[in-house]
Structure formats: structure tokens, C-alpha cells
């Protein structure tokens, strides 16, 4: 059986794939980032030059026309209309006595299929809207199912989760709204988490050292600002170091906020760096050491 590999400009590869798998991936539009293909995993050609998928690439290009997308949107709208008053099992395509586990599985599959994250940035607004309507219908039905089959859960949009490690957290699953915003992992740095990028240079290394409580030694950094973030806000932190050049991407959260303008402490927020690996910490410490050292003189 023939095998195929695909790759993108970031060096990511997937293979060995059967021809059927490759064609299905191309036909379903999942390979937007893929630029190259190979029949042996070592010799690569641009994917457009692979005869085995040329027909699918051409078909995908014509299917993405605005007129075709509008037609597709109309078809989806009709489906939503037909299912609006249908019971959950019918919406999810399972038997009327299907257990919760099966309903959840069917919901997850359908919700993913209609996730707006699978649409390209150029998708017609009408088609995007139709996807959002389906996703909303699915989420509503799933909340109803949970309320019916798990009476102790209270899946209400916007509710938070109990503190990690608490007894409540271990006994009760977090409440979910099942909205599209809760589906994550495809496009990063959006939804509930905030993305903060800081260019770190000699001018602002004080973020690691100047605050008396929130500093590198205590496992954090402090950002002085007039608009502090709320405690507990999850932050995907990107630290771009100037020299030597290096980027650290860390999971973080706001562990300190000071909003009073009393002159006693700087206003701003502190981010915890619990995710920092020992090697990354050593890099930051070395960076601080070199930035704080007096510049060498040539006199002498």
C-alpha cells in the first residue's frame, strides 16, 4: 500500500498516511497550512504537484466561491429550521434512549464539525452565521440534556469552576455552557485566556526584580500599569528577549493586583511564573545578570 507524508512551513509532518486518509484530509479542507507532500517521507514536492490530490484541490477552490458558500448557508439554515423544535436525540442523531455518554460524544462531534474555527478567514459571512446558528442550537440542546440527565450539575453560561484541588472541584465537574467559545486548541491565544506579549530588554528588566513581593525570586513578574487585570485571569505569556534573542511562551495567571493610587505601591498586576522550567529560569537569571552588569570600558 502506498504511503504519503504531508508537511508545512513550520517543519511539522504527518505520515505515513494511506492514500484514502490523504484524500479525505485534502477533500475536507483540513490541510490549509500544508505546503508539501512526499511519497517516502524524505523527498518533498509542493502539494499542488501531487497528482493523487490535484482533482480535490481544484474542486475545493471552486467550492469556496461566494455563491457556493451562500447556497451552503441557505441549506444549513433550512436544517436548523427543521431541527429547532426537535428533541435532543434527533438533533444529535442517536437513539431516543441513548445514554448521556453517547449524547455527549455525538454533541462533541457535531459541534466540532460546525465550529467556526474550521472556516477560513475569507468564508462568506452568511455561511459563518449559519454555522454559529447550528452551534448555538447544539449547545442549547446539550445544556438541556445535562440538566435532564445530571440533575446536580447546573450548566449555566459564564459560570466558573471551583478552585483547583478543592474538594468541590474533585466532586463536581465544572459547569459548561457548551458554547463554541469553550472549544479550544485550534487557534491559540483567544477565548478565556488573555495573550500578553512583552519585549524584554535592558530598559524593562525591572519587571523581574523591582517589585518587593512579585519578582523572579518569588516566581513571578510585575507589570506596572494603570489598568490592572483581575486576580486569577489566565494569561498566555510570550516573553521576547532582545539579546540574546529568545522567546519563552508560558502559561501564567494574575496572582497580584494593586489598583490603589496611594503612592505606597506601584499600580499594576503580577503574573505567576509557575510554569517556568529550571532551564528557562536559568536563562532569565543569566539575562538579568548580563543586562545589569556595567558595560565594559576600553580605558586602561
Amino acid at each position: 500500500m502506498s504511503n504519503y507524508w504531508i508537511g508545512d512551513s513550520l517543519g511539522r509532518v504527518l505520515g505515513p498516511l494511506t492514500l484514502q486518509s490523504l484524500r479525505e484530509l485534502v477533500g475536507s479542507g483540513r490541510l490549509k497550512a500544508v505546503t508539501r507532500a512526499s511519497r517516502d517521507g524524505s523527498s518533498w514536492v509542493p502539494i499542488e504537484q501531487l497528482n493523487e490530490v490535484r482533482d480535490l484541490l481544484a474542486a475545493a477552490a471552486s467550492a469556496a466561491s461566494p455563491a457556493a458558500e451562500q447556497q451552503q448557508a441557505e441549506r444549513l439554515r433550512q436544517q436548523v429550521q427543521a431541527l429547532r423544535n426537535a428533541p435532543a436525540h434527533q438533533v444529535f442523531g442517536v437513539k431516543s434512549d441513548a445514554p448521556l455518554e453517547e449524547l455527549r460524544g455525538a454533541f462533541f462531534r457535531l459541534a466540532r464539525r460546525y465550529s467556526p474555527e474550521h472556516l477560513s478567514a475569507h468564508t462568506h459571512p452568511e455561511l459563518r452565521k449559519a454555522h454559529a446558528e447550528i452551534a448555538e442550537l447544539l449547545a442549547r440542546r446539550m445544556r438541556e440534556v445535562e440538566a435532564q440527565l445530571t440533575p446536580r450539575a447546573t450548566p449555566v453560561a459564564g459560570t466558573g469552576t471551583p478552585p483547583k484541588g478543592s474538594r468541590a472541584a474533585q466532586q463536581q465537574a465544572p459547569a459548561y455552557s457548551y458554547s463554541v467559545d469553550e472549544f479550544v486548541g485550534l487557534q491559540m491565544g483567544r477565548h478565556e485566556r488573555l495573550q500578553v506579549t512583552i519585549k524584554v530588554s535592558a530598559r524593562n528588566v525591572g519587571i523581574f526584580t523591582d517589585h518587593r513581593i512579585i519578582n523572579l525570586q518569588a516566581g513571578g513578574l510585575f507589570l506596572p500599569t494603570d489598568k490592572p487585570l483581575k486576580l486569577g485571569t489566565k494569561v498566555d505569556l510570550v516573553l521576547d528577549f532582545e539579546q540574546p534573542e529568545r522567546q519563552l511562551r508560558l502559561r501564567s495567571s494574575v496572582i497580584w493586583e494593586y489598583t490603589l493610587d496611594d503612592g505606597k505601591q506601584p499600580r499594576g498586576y503580577g503574573l505567576g511564573l509557575a510554569d517556568l522550567r529550571p532551564e528557562e529560569r536559568a536563562f532569565v537569571e543569566e539575562f538579568l545578570r548580563t543586562q545589569r552588569s556595567p558595560a565594559p570600558t576600553t580605558s586602561g
Binding site: 505515513p16 479525505e24 484530509l25 475536507s28 491565544g189 489566565k234 511562551r249
Partner: protein
């Protein structure tokens, strides 16, 4: 009983963080390890023999399918759960017949991850 080890293998750190959040928020008590590409994932798995590996498919150095095949020799008792946006039916079938115990598509829902991990741990 000792705390089971979970290995997260994904080249995107933010995805690994989301997976960590989903697992920790679910109340599961596990030891979490991570690796940022297929090669590193295989090395960590060989050394640590995790109970469960959450494995992306589209990664630098070694693809998830190659890692999955190598796991049969490197850590045969590890249950491998695929987490990937390449969730077309024949790819899922390929991964499952190569030994994966489950397949979660991206974007994923945190509850989906928690349920799949619980299932893999009980497998």
C-alpha cells in the same frame, strides 16, 4: 496506588497548557509531563513509561503516527490518546488500528479531554 503519569505531546505550548487546564480542572490526580515534538515525546515515553500519552499527530521531527507505531516497542503499556485536528474518518481509523485507545479532534472541549483521559486510565 501510585499517581498515574500523563504525558502531553504537542508542539504548541498553548495547546499543552489548555490540556493541562482541562485535566487539572477535572479534579484528576495525575503527574503531568510534557514534550514539544514527536521525537522528544518518544524519548520521554521510553524513559518514564507514562500510563497515558496525549499525542498530537502533526508535529516536527516525528509525526504522531510514527510515534504511535514506535510506542509498541518503546512503552507498550502506555495507552495513547490522539488529540488532533486531522480527525478525518480514515485517519481516525488508521490511528485506532495502529493502537490508539481514543481520538479527540481539535478544537476540543475540556470535558471531552477529561472524559477521554478517565476512559484511557480505566482501559
Amino acid at each position: 496506588m501510585s499517581t498515574p503519569t500523563l504525558l502531553l505531546v504537542d508542539d504548541d505550548k498553548f495547546v499543552r497548557n489548555l490540556l493541562k487546564d482541562a485535566i487539572q480542572d477535572s479534579g484528576l490526580e495525575v503527574r503531568l509531563l510534557e514534550a514539544s515534538d514527536g521525537q522528544e515525546g518518544l524519548e520521554v515515553a521510553t524513559r518514564e513509561r507514562p500510563a497515558v500519552m496525549l499525542l498530537d499527530l502533526f508535529m516536527p521531527r516525528r509525526s504522531g503516527l510514527e510515534v504511535l507505531a514506535a510506542m509498541k516497542d518503546s512503552s507498550p503499556d502506555t495507552r495513547v490518546l490522539i488529540i488532533s485536528s486531522m480527525d478525518a474518518e480514515p485517519v481516525v481509523a488508521q490511528a485506532m488500528s495502529a493502537g490508539a485507545v481514543g481520538f479527540v479532534g481539535k478544537p476540543f472541549h475540556p470535558l471531552e479531554i477529561a472524559l477521554a483521559v478517565r476512559q484511557a486510565l480505566a482501559h
